[in-house]
Symmetry: C2
């Protein structure tokens, strides 16, 4: 029974890694579509999101089946419950990629953001892609050092998110309302993408170190 | 054993209802703070969010304890897993209230949105409050008719969300960049609040009717 359970847990982990890989691909394409106004790439991201949703749903069903069949307790139980939560966060990360791709598609053939903001978004996109890759690696290796790096890169993204608002609300901003709306939404999506990664990284870190939040009374 | 389990499930349900009640109070105060520029009320919402987070965390721990002790299967297992997901959505709804309250606080003593948009936001706020109340009732009674109503009200909010963009991107828009940013974010928060409610309503409906998504192979 124990051996079957370990095998099933490996299957859960493999699937999480696989979904994280799809998310990494998705944000890579979405940020390229966004920064280069590549509408074909944007369409691809939007079409592929269904695959991420389905993979997350299938993983949830596997986790529930494991709970029913193996009735894990203690740390084993927490691993399966965490998998359910990680899957939900990965699914939302895919949604953020899709939202970024949709902005690129709406404004095509125009670029989504005006020139002055492009370096900021290029950097946010680069960090999101980096974070997604590290997340896939973290889920594969459980090397908690990566969790720390993801948190640091999220801090950098938060700083860039504030920088977007500083520019948009600054005196030199010449953008139209449509540019302001797009910059606001795009910045929020880039920032939320990284937030979900941090939340996943925390769960992996807890599992790896056993450092759980205290039990409720 | 079965009786203890039923009692524990009732405890889970009671706590979900309690958290939904806190969220309903939170969005009621947040939208009033937002529409009336009431900074004291905004502070209250922001301070009270911690209570929602803690209640959701305590509920998660209870659900995990039930999984470990009672080892439920089939429908019972799905109820407990759903409770974990509903708790996560309620926690995010509290975050949306907080974001709306924060916008009111940042702009105080100014109003967050210009005159032309105020009726739209008043209506979005009214619908969010209505949805939160119905959600509390749905969690209490499991009356699936309420789930339908919540979905319909969410459709109304989605239409208002689009209306905000129509106005902001329209030729008559005289707002500054700061107004455009605030309207964009506020509209997104109001809309996301309702989305989470719909996602919870679907879960309750599935549980009440047994109409689950097909199992993964």
């Amino acid at each position: 029974m124990r051996e079957v359970f370990q095998q099933e847990l490996r299957e859960v982990q493999d699937r999480l890694v696989e979904i994280a890989g799809l998310v990494a691909e998705s944000i890579d394409k979405a940020t390229r579509a966004f920064n280069e106004s590549d509408v074909a790439l944007a369409e691809e991201v939007i079409a592929d999101d269904h695959g991420i949703d389905q993979a997350a749903l299938a993983l949830d069903e596997l986790a529930i089946t494991i709970l029913a069949r193996q009735q894990p307790v203690a740390r084993d139980l927490r691993i399966v419950v965490s998998a359910l939560r990680i899957s939900a966060s990965l699914e939302r990360m895919g949604d953020m990629s899709t939202h970024i791709a949709q902005l690129a598609r709406y404004r095509f053939p125009d670029k989504v953001v005006p020139k002055t903001l492009r370096p900021t978004f290029a950097e946010m996109g680069r960090l999101d892609v980096e974070i997604a890759k590290k997340l896939t690696e973290l889920l594969t290796t459980e090397d908690v050092e990566l969790a720390e790096q993801i948190r640091n890169e999220d801090d950098e993204i938060d700083a860039l998110h504030l920088q977007v608002f500083d520019k948009v609300l600054g005196e030199t901003w010449k953008g139209e309302a449509v540019d302001t709306v797009d910059a606001t939404l795009a910045s929020r999506y880039h920032e939320r993408f990284a937030d979900h990664a941090v939340s996943i990284a925390k769960k992996v870190q807890y599992l790896a170190t056993g450092d759980w939040a205290p039990e409720a009374p």
